[in-house]
C-alpha cells in the first residue's frame, strides 16, 4: 500500500533481550518520526529524522534506545537489554518534509510486550 508500514505488528520478548522495530515511510517523505504510546497514555515523541540525519533525539528515554535511517527511507528503532517499562506501542510517522504545517502520516505501530 501507499501508507506507512511497520513490522512486526506484535513482538513479545523476554526482559534483557534486544529488539529491532522497522518502519517503511511513505515513498518520497523526507521526514520520519518515532513515537511511543503506553497503555492509556498519549503519544510520546522519541526521535526525528530528516533524510538520514537525526537532528532531534531528545525523546529517546535512555542510551538503550537507538535508531537509524538508511537511504532516506527505511528506519530501524533498536532497544537493547529490554525492560518491562519498555512495553508499549511504538509508532512511526512520516511527512513530506519536516516543519510545522506538514501533516504526519502514521503507521499502525508495533506492539511490544516485555515479559
Amino acid at each position: 500500500g501507499a501508507g506507512v508500514s511497520q513490522s512486526p505488528s506484535n513482538k513479545v520478548t523476554e526482559k534483557g533481550k534486544d529488539v529491532e522495530l522497522r518502519c517503511d515511510p511513505i515513498s518520497g517523505h523526507t521526514a520520519l518520526y518515532w513515537y511511543r504510546q503506553s497503555l492509556g497514555q498519549g503519544l510520546e515523541f522519541l526521535i526525528y529524522f530528516q533524510g538520514n540525519s537525526a537532528p532531534d533525539k531528545s525523546g529517546l528515554p535512555s542510551d538503550r534506545f537507538s535508531a537509524e535511517r538508511t537511504g532516506g527511507s527505511v528506519s530501524t528503532l533498536t532497544i537493547q537489554r529490554t525492560q518491562q517499562e519498555d512495553s508499549a506501542v511504538y509508532l512511526c510517522a512520516s511527512s513530506l518534509v519536516g516543519g510545522s504545517g506538514q501533516p504526519q502520516h502514521f503507521g499502525d505501530g508495533t506492539r511490544l510486550s516485555i515479559l
Binding site: V4, A31, Y33, Y35, G42, L43, F45, Y48, Q50, P55, D56, G59, L91, A93, S95, G98, G99, S100, G101, Q102, P103, Q104, H105, F106, G107, D108, G109, R111
Partner: protein, 112 residues
C-alpha cells in the same frame, strides 16, 4: 508549545452532527491546527489541518475564529464507525522538528 484543552469525552447518536471544540489560548503566529483520529490498535490518522477561517474536506470541517484561540472540528452525520479518540494539536515544537505533542484527546462514542 501551545497547550490545548478539549473535552475528555462526548456522546452522540448516528446521523447527528458532532462538534468538538479545542481551546488553544497561547497559539503562536506560525502554528497550524491539526486534528487526528485514532481507533484502538491503530496509529493516529490525519483528518484535517487549518490555519484560519474554515477548511473543509471529504470527512470533516474545521472552523477557526479570527483570534485563533480555539477551533472546532465538525463531523457531519456521524456513524458508529466514527467512534474513536480525536486529538487536537497546535503547531509542533516551534522548531524544525515539528514533533507532535498529543494530549489526552476526546473520546467520541457514537450510539445507534
Amino acid at each position: 508549545l501551545a497547550k490545548t484543552t478539549q473535552p475528555i469525552s462526548m456522546d452522540s447518536y448516528e446521523g447527528q452532527e458532532v462538534n468538538i471544540t479545542c481551546s488553544h489560548n497561547n497559539i503562536a503566529t506560525n502554528d497550524y491546527i491539526t486534528w487526528y483520529q485514532q481507533f484502538p490498535s491503530q496509529g493516529p490518522r490525519f483528518i484535517i489541518q487549518g490555519y484560519k477561517t474554515k477548511v473543509t474536506n471529504e470527512v470533516a470541517s474545521l472552523f477557526i475564529p479570527a483570534d485563533r484561540k480555539s477551533s472546532t472540528l465538525s463531523l457531519p452525520r456521524v456513524s458508529l464507525s466514527d467512534t474513536a479518540v480525536y486529538y487536537c494539536l497546535v503547531g509542533g515544537d516551534g522548531g524544525a522538528t515539528n514533533k507532535l505533542i498529543f494530549g489526552t484527546g476526546t473520546l467520541l462514542a457514537v450510539q445507534p
